[in-house]
Amino acid sequence: MRRRLGAGIGTTAIGAVVLFAIIGHATTIGTASTTVGAGRAGVARCDTDGITVTQVLTGSNVTVVAVAGIASACGTGSLSATVNNGTTSSTGVATVPAGGGSMTVTLASAVLVKDSDEIDVAITGP
């Protein structure tokens, strides 16, 4: 009885070793997925050589953001522009013209111009 029990444990151990070897092998495939999950995979950009961003004013407020030099690969993507003067911020969203080029984005609300303003532009897609 003790022999059978010992043999059973031995068999299970061998089976587990073989099984883990296979799981280990399978995990090699899974590792590729893990790399993507770790955020190390590059996210494609439709524009790599830069854009020109200019504030368009109404009085002393930024009401519109003009963006030029958009690569044609960004055409039909969604462009979001957020103006932040350190106190208030506002965002506008518009569709990039097919073929890229230039466009304007109207902000949801006006932002007062200060000595230093930041404009964040994000193009999603196409």
Binding site: G8, A16, A26, T34, G50, G77, D120, A122, I123
Partner: protein, 248 residues
Amino acid sequence: MSRSRVLDRRHLLAAGRALAALLLFYPFAHASVGYASSLTVASTDLTVYATCTLSGTTGASASVQDSYVDENAPTTTNGSAATMNSQSRNNRNRRSYVSFDLTTCAPSVPSSAIVTGATLRLWVTAVPLATCRTEDVFAVTSAWTQSAITWNNQPFGTAINSPASGTRTDSITIGSGAGCTIGSAAQYVPWNVTTNVANFVSGGATNFGWMIRDDAEGANGLGFTVTFSASDAASVPQAPQLVVTYRR
């Protein structure tokens, strides 16, 4: 039955059981692999740029220093003037100096940022008539302040047409003559200063701002004058600007 045969049988039996266990658990192992493989990231193209715009909105702007120097008044400071000039005229040449404190960008531009574009923008209030003048911009290589700079102590010295045009960062033609890039007043003049700002941000060069001068100083007669709005004009829509676009 010899001891070795018993061992062989045991080994055979153990191997058989191991194989059985393998076949039993393999679907689970396979299922686990299948589960891991389902971690597909559905990414969308994303292009992100940040822009810092520094503006001389008032004469006391923390981020901007600007002035002009006048060969005809070589010890006079003009840091509180509402306008500044670039003028080519024999013994009466004028140059404009402007600098922007990049550390006032909020959030700050990291030294590792990739500067994809930087534009120096000055609002022009008067252009030379019936001609095109080339206006050069040079990166300044030593310190100055708007309250102390004069023709005599300016960083580039008092010799006209110095530094040489070939060392300029950018140039643009201004005037009401045919073919000028900037043909009339009341608009911004945009000089491309990307290479300078990239060096300032990375630490490859120190930021002392820029000097603007006529490409051919010392013109005879009444000469040629371009007038820009200075930060002391305290006009937000006409404020001197530096626009820096970058990727973090």
